[in-house]
């Protein structure tokens, strides 16, 4: 029974023809596939792997560069802000100083102008006073002269004379 089973079990008996064809087909398949497909694919994959690695490396490098630039920018910005604050503070201080100076100058000028004016006024008053005194003296002299020249006998004459003098005075 077991022998019958084995005798029919032909797949366990290595057929020379099948061995021959398997070797031939496999070797031809290997050379064709290796030449036309596997080697070019291997090369292409390797190239792509290298390219991807290079790209990643490049991206990392650029990223580092960007981070550096960003840091630099932030630093610059901080510096600029500080500078601007400083400039503004300086400008404000200067402006305040200038204002105070201007105000002081103006006050001084005003004081000077008023002092000059008061002095001028005083001068003019003095000179007017002097002129007046001189004029009054002259007038008194004129009046005295006229009084003296006229005949001061009657009251009517005296009155008219005084009126005339007063009118002349005007």
């Amino acid at each position: 029974m077991s022998m019958l089973y084995l005798a029919d079990f032909s797949v366990i008996k290595p057929d020379f023809g099948l061995i021959f064809w398997t070797v031939l087909i496999f070797l031809v398949l290997y050379f064709v596939l290796a030449r036309l497909a596997f080697k070019p694919i291997q090369k292409a994959l390797k190239k792509r792997d290298t390219e991807i690695q290079d790209s990643i490396d490049e991206a990392k490098r650029v990223q580092a560069q960007m981070a550096q630039l960003k840091d630099d920018n932030a630093k610059l910005l901080a510096e600029a802000r500080e500078e601007s604050t400083r400039i503004i503070a300086e400008a404000e201080a200067y402006a305040k100083k200038r204002k105070e100076e201007a105000v002081n100058e103006a006050k001084e000028a005003a004081q000077k102008v008023s002092a000059d004016a008061q002095r001028d006024i005083a001068n003019m008053r003095d000179s007017a006073m002097a002129d007046l005194k001189k004029e009054v003296g002259t007038m008194a002299l004129d009046i005295a002269e006229k009084v003296l020249q006229k005949d001061l006998k009657s009251d009517v004459n005296q009155t008219s004379l005084v009126n005339e003098l007063v009118n002349n005075l005007n």
Binding site: F20, L29, F38, Q42, A44
Partner: protein, 445 residues
Amino acid sequence: MKLLLRVMLLLVFCGVNTALSAQHDDHDSGDHSSHDGHGHATEVHEGCAHDDSYDPASVILHHIADANYFEIIHGVNLPLPLFLYAPGHGLTTGLSSMLGDDHHLKAVDGYVMNHGRVNRLADSAGDAMLSGEYDVECILHKTEVNEAGKEKDTYYAKINGQEYLLNAASVGDGGLLGGGITNFYDFSITKNVFTMLLAALLLILLWTAVARGYKRNEGQAPSGIQSLMEPFFVFLRDEISIPMIGEKHYEKFQPFILTVFFFILFCNLFGLIPFIPGSANVTGNIAVTMALAVIAAIVAYVHGNAHFWGHVLWMPGVPVFVKPLLTVVEVLGLVIKPFSLMVRLFANITAGHIIILSLVSLIFIFGNNGESVFGAAAGGVVGVAFTLFMNCIELLVAFVQPFIFAILTASYIGAAVEEHEHEHGHEGSHDVEYENLNDSNPAYA
């Protein structure tokens, strides 16, 4: 998980095998009682009457066997080319259809079609019968007991009322398995060769299309069939070639590993298709697995470096009296490695096919050769359910087996090309790797 699967497969296989044997025993003993009159020496099915009873074992073994034509449906065959060589008689070529069909067989130059395979009349038929064309009445099957008391299946061609012993083609089993050198060699394009050619053609078309994709999409993302196959390529490179062979040498062997993997995979998948152009049991034939295993072994050993051969032939670092013993063991190992590759693939695929065919046979066994329709229906329900389940496992096996074949081939190549920086530093990382590899090997056995 894999171990569990294997145990399950083994159990299923053993179960089916026992069932088959039991069935066959019944059949056999029945035959004996009915043919008691013929004596013990020979059991003969007389005349050309066709035996209609269903014998699952012979049907299954017929279905997993190679054939000289491709059966499209029962009775309709695709003829395949024959290249038959008989020493002393030269080459006979033609299409398998020249030997007639199932109803009308012909003998051409002594060649006769016997259940799908070309046989040749034994030399005892005489030179007259071994040339020219004759009509064959039928093929007779006899079970003979030889001098050693062993049963042997023999076939006879009945031509002009005369019975002539038939020889099968020469096979390389050295007579151990019932074959051996006969009076002719069959180098025909058989069903298996046809399927291998088909698989090779498909693989070439597929991979050249993929390679074109790499040329077209250079510097771009893969597309279409290229992106479908790229994961396979990368997986086999990163999981087999590089870890097993090493960064330094893997590129040289990557095409070989890939070819081994895809050739076996495609042959397996063709074997799972139950009709033309599939159905050929290519990787379940020991001739195919033997050729592949021997090629793999030759590739590994040809690239073996001085370090490898030094370890095989005269193991360094062990006492001198142990060295010859280790040499014997290592040289045996050189043969056992491809032998294990051969048997593993052959047994896995053949076992799967036998299980599926056995499950389909349940329909006829339960149906009691067409006498019980309900039995056949029950067999059909059970058979379909289990066949569906088995087909899923077979699909898994169709992928797992080429992977194992490829990974072991790569490990043999890796062991052959492995380089040691320090000849005496045997606790280096390479040794650790090698030990791990050996530890993990039983998982693939």
